[in-house]
Amino acid sequence: MIEIRNLVKRFPDGTLALNRINLTINKGEFIVIAGENGSGKTVLVKHLNGLLQPTEGSVLLNGNPVIKNLRYTRQKIGFVFQNSDSQILGQTVEDDVAFGPRNLGFSREEIKKRVEDALIETGLKEKKDRPPFSLSGGEKQRLALAGVLAMEPEIIVFDEPFSHLDYTGVKQVLSHILLLHEKGTTIILTTHDLEKMLAHATRLLILYKGEVVRDGKPEQVINSVSDFNIHKPYGEKRQVKTMTWLMELGIP
């Protein structure tokens, strides 16, 4: 469980990126954090695993302050970044996935097993010896996911995971996310584009100019999104359950 209390983030240049955020994220949720560009989504999620430090307030993971338990937090909270290129840290697919487990100091056998499992789960096993930069956009994003899965986190943060992906890429990555959620992983996903996956979310939170302005069930929040410069998926009286690019799952 993540608790954010009175979180304020002011950058040295004076930008107030987050203003008094109070938020609790429970185990098993699939929370979508939506907001226009510059609303503070990335800054907010970077506080969850201590990549940024609060100016005021605190972030707790399972009751422990994040900034005092970085290693613990980063193992429990996996992070898939927006730009898949700069999160590639190994020179082959296999090496990249091993990066996290190696840092956590597992035995060689354990590392091997975790890497293998993560590669199978993301469907990248055949490509394990390929250099990552030769993969497609969707594959790179899956590689980033594999690197996170090998650390066996409880919570996974996806920061705009679809922004560089084509239709196929979105469907692939989205179906992985759903699978993980089904298995009990807590999912935190930021986006400015709700049409691709809102149907699967359990909660929708809207960030606007660094403040939480709406927070609730997607059905309740969806009608006010355009007030905060977020595109509301087209269609009069469109139901939330149709807002997915995995049509076969979205429409019952």
Binding site: T92, G100, N103, D129
Partner: protein, 253 residues
Amino acid sequence: MILFHYIPGNSILHRTNPGIKLVIILIYSIIIFLLKLPFLFIILFAELLLLLAAKIGIKQVMKELMRFSLFVLIIFMVRAYSEGGLILVAQVIPVPSLPGLLAGEYIILKLCMVIFLGLLLTSTTKISQLQNTLHSFFSLFPFIPAARIAALMSLTIGSFPLLLDKLSEVDEARKARCIQSNRNPISRIISISLPLFRHVFKSVDDIACAMEARCYTEEARPLSEPLPLKDFIIFILSILTGIIVLVFNTLIP
């Protein structure tokens, strides 16, 4: 871009111990600068063979190297003008002297050869292996923060392809906006270096974030087995060989 990226494979070089490769390459970079022309060609030939064996596309490599020819050109000019003095023709057009020019030419050949050596190492060695080897090597000496040095060195080497990738990105962006028609060399250089540094700092930031998020530590568990003692003996032997060759090279006129 394939320049300085790891290229998976199974050639002799891929299977050779990274530490030994590193030492041999360091030694030969020095030797190359001391050798005379016929010997240079022999080594160049050997390099090309090894590049072929490692399945590194020489054509592609040459094409990518051409992009960085500006660097090479600058070095050439500096050498050509400094060595053997500057002869002024009609006191207007400076023309480099012949010996200066020749030294300049050699310097290009030699630079290319050293770049090839670097390629042979980086294309066939995973940074993680290299780090591992450097770590074991520095651990031989007391009072040296082996893990830190190894991590630093491998990070430095690892960021080289990043720099080149960014360079070619910026270069394309300039070309798309007609940099060719700008004849002012100063503004051309500024137009590539400023965006390049901004890009690089941004990526370094992103990568540092990604590393932290995956619990980066200098003491990460190596994937391959630690080096057996035998490899260290070979390692030290190759250093000695290098020194002996150098001594001979200076003795012979």
